[in-house]
Amino acid sequence: MSELTKEIASLASGGRLSILARHIVDGFLMGLHRGTRRGTGSEFSQYRSYQPGDDIRLIDWKMYGRSDRYYIREADVETSVTLRLFLDASASMRYAENGYDRFRYASLIIAVLGTLAHRQGDSFALHIVNDREQLLLREGRDTQHLNRFYEMIESAVCDGSWPGSPGWLYESLNSGQRELWVVCSDMLDGLDPWISFVKTAGISGSETHFLQILGADEVNLPEQKMMTVKDPEQRQIRNIRTAAVRNQYQANLEKYLDELKNRVMSEKTSLDLVMMDTPVGTALRHILQRRQLR
């Protein structure tokens, strides 16, 4: 639990995202996948004879010295992956627990993933999204890109809800690159926006992971007898007596979550529930381990 308290303290105190993310990545995350190293691969696979038009830089001169013929050295080039990160910036992300809010928690997850991708030389892109505006940072892989990435997260503002229609996504779809999509959200705004999102993700052929972040007090209402709650869009305020309300509330919530899972999960899509009091590192590690087993 000391991990958790340290992380909560640093999240609640407003430490810089870049530093926190780097700390977690340095700490104990294993790679997303076996990434490429810069330059050409170094694992030898085979030789093939030179064809006109090949890049002459790939000619293996040792072989030429031996055989007086031009050969191209081929390596097991591992496929690189573009990581496309989605951060929900809707009003419901402002829900706060333990001194920090859900958006901050999600930001940290996103920042960690971005940092990891950068470490491994993969390109990554970021979408910060709600129905008012959808910010896009196009893919890149250099350090300047990483810094822009951090700045974009830190300056984001939460409002509105997840966009109902996925039109904003279309320009980012390119069937060329193999992409890995990760979505950090609470996914509480209703089923339909998410169903259409999943469909669009399917069109792009990308593997999609949903990280649904919820607070402990959201799942079970807190201990106090009376509460005054307001909805995320600030339109209503209600006074509730938690004991009387709890059962029905939890039933409703569970029903929604089950249905969400059913509609969203598929061969290429996974949905994981992350509680806000789990340390970010631990949560990600579990998810990644599971992914690597597949």
Partner: protein, 419 residues
């Protein structure tokens, strides 16, 4: 549990405030943003009871905070644990020994007749009261009027006298007449608590000429006019004090300019006899009427009195409390030793004037006007309370720490509970 100022206890009524806040606050919590708002069911349950009290622990903490604050303001003290000397027994014997302490909380003090002569009974008793703080003091000795000197001071302990001579009734010590023909007499009444003196008007007694004479064994009459003249140049406290003394004696007092001489404070004429209270000479040789706030010895010259009957010093034995005292020194002057506060100045002059008047009448220097009984009682209790407060330990420190701890607890709990 002692309180320095119990008046603050009325503020305990403020403990009702958190109760009211808790009762009224049931609806207005700070609104918490809940992302899962739409999953809350429609409210179809019965309404909350009107006076439901939630967060009882927080309420108790807040009430405790107010109580401790009030106690702090009232100044709680833990009474000091005293070993409790209950009784001091003062016996007059031939040999004087050191005080012994017996196991049962009784202290015996033996005094010799010379000590009694030198110090005076009341001073001994007062010293014992200060030293041991007992509940009662028993005094056994040959109590004659001659040894019954000095003023009766206020004391905490009950004083019980066991004396051989049980005289009851009143004794008239002196009688005099004012110019209007009103006679006043000085009465002494002895009871178990000591001798009480008062002066009151009497119908015309038997007058024996105009000289001081004693008629009978316990009635003395003096006929003549007792008059005092106070110098107009005397400074205010001196004049006020001397005038008080003259009023007490029902004297005719006036400010006569023709008999003024520089340096005279007051002149008393009793028949043919004249007594003059003169100015004060400070140790540095300057002449001043007043010796307020001085730590040096003040001298007042008195002329016209029979100086052969001078007595020794009357001082308190060295105890914790230094009291300025006045005494007749060997050369017949009054001496005052110690600090005199400004507010006490007039009283000192009253005392000096009183003494001079008494001595001019030829009376035995005896008790100063006694305090009325009620005043003595209050004095006793307030001295007792004062002693307790001085000896007690303030409990304020511990209370303050409790208050801090409770405040921290309240601040921790309140936001969590949305109150």
């Amino acid at each position: 549990m002692i309180l320095i100022s119990p008046a603050w206890l009325w503020l305990l009524a403020a403990a009702a405030v958190p109760v009211a806040v808790h009762l009224l606050n049931r609806k207005q919590g700070k609104p918490v943003l809940l992302g899962t708002f739409r999953f809350l069911p429609e409210q179809t349950f019965a309404k909350a009871r009107k006076f439901e009290l939630h967060e009882t622990f927080l309420l108790i903490v807040r009430i405790a905070m107010i109580c401790i604050l009030v106690l702090l303001l009232a100044g709680v003290m833990i009474p000091a644990e005293q070993e409790g000397v209950q009784t001091v027994m003062i016996t007059e014997t031939e040999e004087s020994e050191n005080p012994e302490k017996t196991d049962t909380g009784v202290v015996e003090i033996r005094v010799s007749p010379q000590e009694v002569d030198e110090t005076g009974w009341w001073n001994l008793v007062k010293q014992a009261d200060i030293d041991y703080q007992p509940d009662a003091i028993h005094v056994a000795g040959e109590l004659t009027q001659a040894r019954f000197t000095a003023g009766r001071p206020a004391m905490r302990a009950e004083v019980m006298w066991e004396h051989r001579e049980e005289t009851e009734g009143e004794i008239i010590s002196r009688v005099w007449q004012s110019p209007e023909g009103v006679y006043s007499a000085w009465f002494q009444q002895r009871d178990s608590t000591g001798v009480r003196h008062h002066i009151r008007e009497i119908p015309a007694p038997e007058i024996l000429g105009d000289s001081l004479a004693a008629a009978g064994t316990d009635t003395v009459a003096y006929a003549g006019i007792l008059r005092a003249v106070i110098n107009t140049d005397a400074p205010e406290p001196a004049a006020a004090g001397l005038e008080f003394a003259t009023r007490y004696w029902n004297m005719d007092s006036g400010s006569n300019d023709e008999q003024e001489q520089p340096g005279e404070l007051m002149k008393i004429s009793a028949g043919e006899k004249e007594t003059v209270l003169e100015s004060i000479i400070k140790p540095d040789g300057t002449t001043d009427f007043t010796g307020a706030n001085s730590q040096a010895i003040m001298e007042m010259n008195i002329t016209g009195l029979d100086t052969t009957a001078g007595e020794g010093q009357i001082i308190l034995r060295s105890g914790k409390y230094r009291v300025p005292v006045m005494w007749r020194s060997g050369d017949g002057n009054f001496r005052v030793n110690g600090e005199i506060e400004e507010s006490m100045e007039a009283w000192f002059f009253a005392g000096a004037g009183h003494r001079v008047i008494r001595e001019s009448l030829g009376t035995v220097p005896a008790l100063s006007p006694s305090m009325p009984e009620e005043q003595l009682r209050t004095e006793r209790t307030s001295q007792g309370r004062a002693a307790e407060i001085v000896a007690g330990k303030p409990a304020g420190g511990r209370l303050f720490l409790c208050l801090l701890a409770l405040w921290a607890l309240e601040r921790l709990l309140a936001p969590r509970r949305g109150m």
